[in-house]
Amino acid sequence: MLNNVTIPPRRAFIQPEFGDTFETLAKRLLPDEPLEEAVQKLTSWNLFLAFRPGGGGMTPSDLFFTEPPHAPMAMPGMD
């Protein structure tokens, strides 16, 4: 059976719950960090949500990254 395949994500993400905000997600995902810092960190990982055009806030079908962008992989032959 192939329907339980788990391929590591390119970048870890979750999907928010209805009504989630950066603050609720910060409390849930980074509970040990000061709230303001946690919000800033999550915002910086999800700028597309923080600054996207249009209203409506976060939706439950959105993606929410839980880690920063990865550095681009070095190409062979590059210093």
């Binding site: 329907n3 597309f48 993606l63 990254f65």
Partner: protein, 561 residues
């Protein structure tokens, strides 16, 4: 018994991608009955010496839903050799919809698909609510086959009313949506469309985006049970977002034994490795049993804009957007108001298009000038502003005002223009050709003729693909991905959807404005070049010399029960 039609001496590209051969195709009762060395009497015989005979092309990403109500030929799709279209993409069909939600749906549809309101209002009869009633309303006038999708946003509105725009569904509502989806599939829908990105006329997420993952999962279970397909629009401009979406689509595909197709896969100048990264992710997920098929369009991105109505060009410029929404006289006053102009100037200076398009208004040119601006035709706005010593925003506004806003501007090759690279991916077996958006954005750019462009640019121009391969990608490959039976091949028993074209001249014509909407106004189209004849279910639908015929025997594919 004789044939209804015998096409002889053709170069037959049968849709399989195999080598072409010279031969004949015989048709009886709307079906192909013989291919190859065929002889016999026929009511009509055509000598196709020098022409390619291919299965009719299938366009899997269109928005002809509204146009089909007043034009069952989906012009000009047919003359480009397209015999089957898939309307209802991107979470938006025109059914099922209750009478109370027509205005809301209309406003959303017009905004996202950029349809003029007067044409929409004049052309739509709205004499349906259910999906089956919509199909019945358009069926007798169909001159082209349709394989329609039902929109997830419509299913939500049908079940939840206005709450569809505000909240997730309850368990009971999800179950009702599954029943409604199943009914649409029985009434002729080939699958469901969704969107993770679209915003409505009030800049709010479309209803489909309010769905929790469990709702989409449940609807995919219904699709899987019916052997139907999911089409969805992901965040196509960012590699991380797109790969995450590909993973979600792959999980749905594996779990529900479902094909998921997403559109567009778009080569972005601002993220030059995006297509490579997405392709690698699709390849990986395919290796693990998923059926996730990206759709890639053939043409580069060109846009037109004017100030008569909101257009996607202004989607991230709120003051420009709001200004274009104003009634005409108020808009003129606002555009003349110095304080308002200052806001417009400031906004355009900080402009950023968030979907991977490099859009610089200085590179826009005067595309369709009114009389007062006739001498500016084709000139770059940046040059005009410099010459006049004015701000770019003032150049746009002053030119527009000089002709009562009737002048339109163009921007070309904004993205998806590295055709050497795109050629490689168009030929790739993991990627389907589609995402053309036929029937949408009608005053913003022409969405027609992508098939001709494939032959003229990628087959003849770059030599990146054989004629046989290009035909395969437009026919059987699409039918295979979408589960469309008995179409896409020249084979006995298959529907006689046929296109005869000259492989040396087939192309898209220049973009032109035509006035064939059901209300005053224009739309941009491209006419076909090099297409000689098109047959739908065995009947001639178009001839290059005599134009469209009166045949109206398009089918709903799959046929409604």
């Amino acid at each position: 018994m004789g044939f209804d039609l015998l096409i002889k001496n053709a170069r037959i590209c049968d849709g399989s991608g195999g080598p072409s051969f010279t031969g004949s195709v015989a048709v009886r009762d709307g079906r192909i009955v013989a291919v190859g060395d065929v002889s016999g009497d026929a009511a009509e015989a055509i000598d196709a010496q020098g022409l390619v005979l291919a299965p009719g092309f299938i366009d899997p990403h269109t928005h002809y839903d509204a146009q089909l109500v007043w034009d069952g030929l989906a012009q000009p799709a047919l003359e480009h050799g397209v015999t089957t279209i898939v309307p209802g993409n991107c979470s938006l069909s025109l059914a099922p919809v209750r009478a109370a939600h027509r205005e809301l749906l209309g406003a959303t549809f017009r905004k996202i698909e950029e349809m003029p309101q007067n044409a929409f209002d004049a052309g739509l009869t709205w004499n349906w609510e259910t999906f089956g009633e919509y199909i019945a309303a358009i069926r007798s006038q169909l001159g082209i086959n349709i394989a329609p999708l039902v929109g997830h946003s419509l299913l939500r509105l049908w079940v939840m009313g206005e709450d569809a725009r505000k909240r997730p569904a309850t368990d009971a509502e999800i179950a009702t949506m599954q029943e409604a989806l199943a009914e649409c599939l029985r009434d002729g829908a080939i699958g469901m469309s969704g969107s993770w990105v679209d915003i409505d006329h009030e800049n709010m997420p479309v209803p489909a985006r309010l769905a929790e993952p469990r709702e989409l999962d449940a609807l995919c279970a219904t699709l899987g049970e019916h052997g139907a397909i999911l089409q969805i629009v992901p965040e196509f401009w960012d590699p991380d977002l797109l790969c995450a979406r590909i993973d979600i689509m792959a999980d749905l595909s594996r779990k529900h034994d479902l094909t998921v197709t997403f559109s567009p896969l778009f080569d972005s100048n601002s993220s030059p490795d995006l297509v490579d990264i997405a392709h690698e992710r699709v390849r990986l997920q395919t290796a693990f049993g998923a059926r996730v098929v990206p759709q890639m369009q053939t043409r580069p991105i060109d846009l037109s804009f004017d100030l008569t109505a909101p257009m996607s060009t202004f989607a991230t410029l709120p003051t420009w957007w709001a200004t274009t929404l104003l009634p005409h006289e108020e808009k003129i006053a606002a555009l003349r108001d110095p304080a308002h102009r200052e806001k417009l100037r400031a906004e355009i200076e900080n402009f950023m298009m968030p979907i991977g398009l490099h859009l610089d208004f200085a590179d826009a040119f005067v595309k369709r000038p009114g009389k007062a601006s006739a001498d500016l035709a084709g000139r770059r706005l940046g040059d005009i502003a410099k010459e006049r010593g004015c701000h770019l925003a003032d150049a746009i506004i002053d030119i527009a005002l000089a002709d009562d806003l009737q002048t339109s501007f163009g921007l070309e090759s904004l993205g998806h223009s590295r055709t050497d690279k795109i050629a490689h991916f168009l030929a790739d077996p993991l990627i389907g050709i589609g995402a053309g958006d036929g029937g949408a954005h009608v005053t913003n750019f022409s969405t027609y003729g992508d098939t001709g462009f494939l032959f003229s640019h990628y087959v003849r121009g770059l030599g990146a693909m054989s004629v046989e391969h290009a035909v395969h990608k437009l026919t059987y490959d699409v039918a295979r991905i979408w589960g469309i039976k008995d179409r896409g091949l020249l084979k006995p028993g298959y529907a006689a959807d046929l296109v005869l074209f000259d492989p040396e001249t087939i192309d898209r014509g220049p973009e032109i404005a035509v006035h064939d909407l059901p209300a005053p106004g224009f739309r941009f189209i491209r006419q076909a070049e090099g297409v000689r004849e098109v047959f739908v279910n065995g009947q001639r639908a178009y001839h290059a010399e005599t134009g469209y015929t009166d045949a109206r025997n398009g089918a709903v594919v799959p046929q409604a029960a």
